[in-house]
């Protein structure tokens, strides 16, 4: 009998502890699949965030270093400089990477640090209970923008991929959704390219995943998926923000 679907080896047999409809689990699974297909599990090191996915190390069968809120790119830099032949990636939420850790991610990209960042953008601080994030969109209600984010008082959403695009050190930047099987297939190729950018020493790579947080958005999982596609993706257009063609990568 042909096996059509099985658990990637790198994904441990542990039930996800994320809320129903959360895409952290999907993103973990995609990482595991790509790590397996590239055959790099034995020399890949993950650096975790502080946020809901602080538990990522529980689920992936690779070495992990857990550190401080927002500082994963610096920790990953230290690891990569110490172990240049290993594959090193960070996994971070939007508060982690685009608020407190903005400096670390920008400078890692500017240095062309040979690491990959996986950035889960759910437009909110999940772990601390749904406060406004830098990626919260205009008008979005959160526990700290109860009247909706006002661009006058709270400014505009921070578009990290677009911000990093101008940096010569960043070699591959893309934004994906995981809301449909087709998008997941496309995202998997993007994850693969991010790792290859690092493995082939082309520079810094980052993948932003637009991801639902039904719990803090106060939506059902189905409503949250629709909101990602119809609203969030409007503010944060998916696609390759900086592709291999642009950085002269042969692919």
């Amino acid at each position: 009998m042909k096996t059509i679907f099985e658990r990637p080896k790198t994904l441990l047999e542990k039930p996800f502890t994320y809320c129903p409809g959360c895409h952290h689990g999907l993103a973990h699974r995609l990482l595991a699949e790509v790590i397996d297909e590239l055959g790099i599990a034995d020399h890949t090191i993950g650096v975790g965030p502080v946020g809901c996915s602080v538990y990522i190390y529980v689920f992936l069968d690779i070495d992990f270093v857990m550190g401080a809120h927002g500082r994963a790119p610096a920790t990953a830099t230290g690891l990569k400089r110490a172990l240049p032949e290993q594959v090193v990636f960070s996994y971070q939420g939007d508060g982690d990477i685009a608020a407190i850790g903005t400096s670390e991610i920008i400078h890692s990209a500017a240095r062309g640090e040979l690491i990959s960042a996986f950035f889960i953008n759910n437009a909110i601080f999940g772990m601390t209970g749904g406060q406004m994030a830098p990626t919260t969109i205009s008008g979005q209600v959160t526990t700290t923008s109860p009247r909706g984010r006002s661009t006058v008082d709270q400014g505009y959403p921070l578009k990290l991929c677009e911000l990093l695009r101008g940096l010569e050190g960043s070699a591959y930047l893309a934004r994906v959704l995981l809301t449909r099987p087709k998008y997941i297939r496309e995202a998997k190729e993007v994850f693969r390219k991010a790792f290859l950018t690092q493995i082939e020493k082309k520079g810094f790579s980052l993948v932003e995943v637009l991801s639902p947080c039904p719990t803090n958005w106060k939506m059902t999982p189905a409503e949250a998926v629709a909101w990602v596609e119809n609203t969030l993706a409007h503010s944060f257009p998916p696609g390759e923000i900086k592709g291999w063609e642009e950085t002269g990568h042969a692919g």
């Binding site: 599990a41 034995d42 020399h43 890949t44 090191i45 650096v47 602080v54 190390y57 069968d61 690779i62 070495d63 992990f64 270093v65 857990m66 550190g67 401080a68 500082r71 610096a74 920790t75 990953a76 830099t77 230290g78 690891l79 990569k80 400089r81 110490a82 172990l83 290993q86 594959v87 400096s103 670390e104 920008i106 400078h107």
Partner: protein, 359 residues
Amino acid sequence: MQKILMKGNDAVAEAAVQAGCNLYFGYPITPQTEISEYLSRRLPDTGGVFLQAESEIGAIYMVYGAAAAGKRVMTSSSGPGFSLKQEGISYLCSAELPCVLVNISRGGPGLGNIQPSQADYFQAVKGGGHGDYRVLVLAPCSVQELVDLTYLAFYLADKYRNPVEILGDGMLGQMMEPVVFRNPDYPDISKEEWVITGKKTRERRIILCFALDPKELEKLNLHLAEKYAEMERSEVLYEVYGSEQPELLLVGYGTVGRILKSVVREAEKQGIRLALVRPVTLYPFPKEILRGQARKAGKALVVEMNLGQMVEDVKLSVEGDVPVYFHGRSGGMIPTVEEIMHRVEEILLKGGEARENNL
């Protein structure tokens, strides 16, 4: 062995290379920037990595990553920069990652100034970051000791899987002195059991800095406490100098320790018997010797380049047995032999009635 004339900051950097420091991450700040400059020239030649970070926060977490990889790694800073590293130091202690932190401290608070100061004793010794943790703190008083303690720092960091801080000041960092590089060949401590490398053929490993279950976190903290107790049993270092039958015990570390030696000699000329205890480890603190010496002398004078920080630990050590006086200069002012002699005479003449503080 050959004596070389060298600046303190350069000497600490060279000793680090000789001690096998593989990676250095730092952000410039006076009066310690020569450490970065020296290593930017020297480390690449040894196959090591020098990286100027975007901030002290960036630097300390780069240290965290490289330490997790089991490499010998160092950062250095001063004053405001060291404050920025405090969160990271707490994380390093929690994750039990060895590294060496060099603090060539300066005047504070705020931007303060770039003059020598001991105002960061509390920050170094009591933990400037959050949580129940300790770092080993070594306080050299000469360029030679800066070198010798740098070798030791790398060894102790590995031995205890804990950050070790070298607490100097701008005077030590900037002064030139003859120095001999005698690497003592401390035993190699294997990191095979815990180091992060990518899992290769073994089971995967995780470096953690949290335990959400309070029972687990208490267990981690008790484990750390055992390590600290072992440091207190095994790693206390100090120098005792001067009279065997002192009328007054002087206590001071680092640059002040040096000045106090001159005070002891000056007093001797005047027929006043003084002894000095110079703590070399500030954590663990040399409590026993201090208590013994203070009892012998009957009174103690603590001198610091701050408004009174270590004096609290001296008081705790002597447990109220003898009066403890204080003399401090702050803001980058360095106490002179004359002013300390004046204070000594005041205490000895007026006995227990001498002012507690000179301020």
